[in-house]
């Protein structure tokens, strides 16, 4: 579990999954605003892992392995394209 929780969820903001969970739990803002608290930017970055995590926090059950998979997918695209495509 720790392997997953300390994984960086987004280059922007450099927050771990665990830190992002804490931020999402502490706010009642909708996703588009809560996301900025994690990434500290105005871009639509790291959308899939962040949105999935936000929904899991809302739902009350977090699948850390699934979030780690989505982060890996996002990182692979990043490596391929060398840019942020919003994923």
């Amino acid at each position: 579990m720790d392997l997953f929780t300390c994984k960086i969820i987004c280059e922007c903001g450099q927050k771990s999954i665990e830190e992002a969970v804490a931020i999402f739990r502490s706010t009642s803002l909708p996703y588009k605003k809560a996301k900025k608290l994690v990434t500290e930017c105005n871009q639509t970055c790291c959308r899939r892992p962040l949105m999935a995590l936000f929904n899991m926090v809302e739902f009350g059950e977090i699948d850390y392995e699934e979030i780690a998979f989505l982060i890996e997918q996002k990182n692979n695209r990043w490596d391929e394209e060398g840019e942020n495509d919003g994923e």
């Binding site: 639509t44 899939r48 989505l70 695209r77 394209e81």
Partner: protein, 331 residues
């Protein structure tokens, strides 16, 4: 065939799934719905072709790199859910799945589609988001029954003129691609209700005036500096988002949108809002955050139904006194 079903039953056993499905081979062979979602599967055996009556197949959330070639023989398959896997390609004769109505391939690693794909003429719902597609074949236009299409988060820099034939399409998501322009045939989609173009490289838009049934239009995170068509033609529009563009002005035609309940123009270069903004009597959420707005027009106080207002990161310092305002991000 008898061997196939026995082989498939054995495979289920090796995956520890034997308790989830009928033990009797004849009953297993007759199932119409098979849910193998999130089972950490790395492959599905060719013997799946023994399930001749299969109508729904759910294999999302596994680690599949390929689909078995024999999947194409499942002639009754209507719904295939294969989201969040690692598929790099589809079987060449995938298009033989003529009964397919719903196909979900989101979150894979597809860089091309086989030419037979465009024979799936009964598809009404197609989601291919988050793949590695660079090009769409002109044959895509053969999928005339499509109602819901999601091609978001791929690498399309342009799209062929394929929408002319899709008269009934009501949902189209082209967000997070690399589109610099939109196909003209987009304007031929008569029933379009949702159009999502977020995260592209659009500098200008074709006229969207023909889409008078649009309910939701998302143009976030493009390079738009003006809106050059008459927004008032979109008379059913309820949700308009223009966040993170280069707009210096919001056209006054926006004030005619009597059904608009959500408007987001945050992160632009707006210094004012249209003086007629108070005409938006259905508006209940407005986001003007992160602009250069110094004062609000007098008519702003006529937004009687506004409940949520984001206005931080503007020179504005006072929240307006609105009767139904429940949340404002500045005090």
């Amino acid at each position: 065939m008898a061997n196939d079903i026995r082989d498939f039953a054995n495979w289920l056993k090796t995956q520890g799934l034997e308790h989830t499905f009928p033990r009797e081979l004849s009953k297993l062979e007759a199932i119409t719905c098979l849910d193998l979602g999130r089972k950490k599967l790395t492959h599905v055996p060719e013997s799946i072709e023994a399930l001749k009556n299969l109508s729904v197949l759910k294999i999302s959330g596994n680690r599949l790199k390929h689909l078995p070639k024999s999947i194409s023989s499942l002639s009754h398959l209507r719904n295939l859910q294969c989201e969040n896997n690692l598929l790099e390609s589809l079987p060449e004769d995938f298009g033989k799945l003529e009964s397919l109505v719903i196909l979900n391939l989101n979150g894979n690693q597809l860089s091309t589609l086989p030419e037979s794909f465009y024979a799936l003429s009964n598809l009404t719902r197609l989601t291919l988001a988050v793949n590695r597609l660079h090009e769409l074949s002109p044959s895509f236009g053969r999928l005339k029954k499509l109602l819901h299409v999601s091609l978001d988060t791929n690498y399309f820099s342009n799209l062929p003129e394929v929408f002319e034939s899709m008269k009934s399409l009501y949902y189209l998501d082209l967000s997070f691609n690399k589109l610099t322009k939109l196909p003209e045939s987009l304007s031929a989609i008569q029933e379009l209700e949702t159009l999502i173009l977020e995260g592209n490289l659009l500098h200008n838009l074709p006229s969207l005036e023909s889409h008078d049934m649009l309910i939701k239009l998302n143009l976030n995170s493009n390079h738009l500096s003006t809106i050059d068509f008459d927004l008032s033609k979109l008379e059913d529009l309820q949700i308009l988002t223009l966040e993170n563009n280069l707009l210096t002005q919001l056209p006054a035609s926006v004030c005619s949108l009597q059904k608009l309940n959500y408007l987001n123009v945050s992160s632009n270069d707006l210094s004012t809002l249209p003086s007629c903004i108070g005409n938006l009597q259905s508006l209940y959420e407005l986001d003007i955050e992160d602009n250069a707005i110094q004062t609000l027009p007098t008519s702003f106080l006529e937004l009687k139904n506004l409940k949520t207002l984001y206005m931080d990161n503007n020179p504005l310092t006072q929240k307006p006194l609105l009767p139904n305002l429940e949340y404002c991000d500045i005090a």
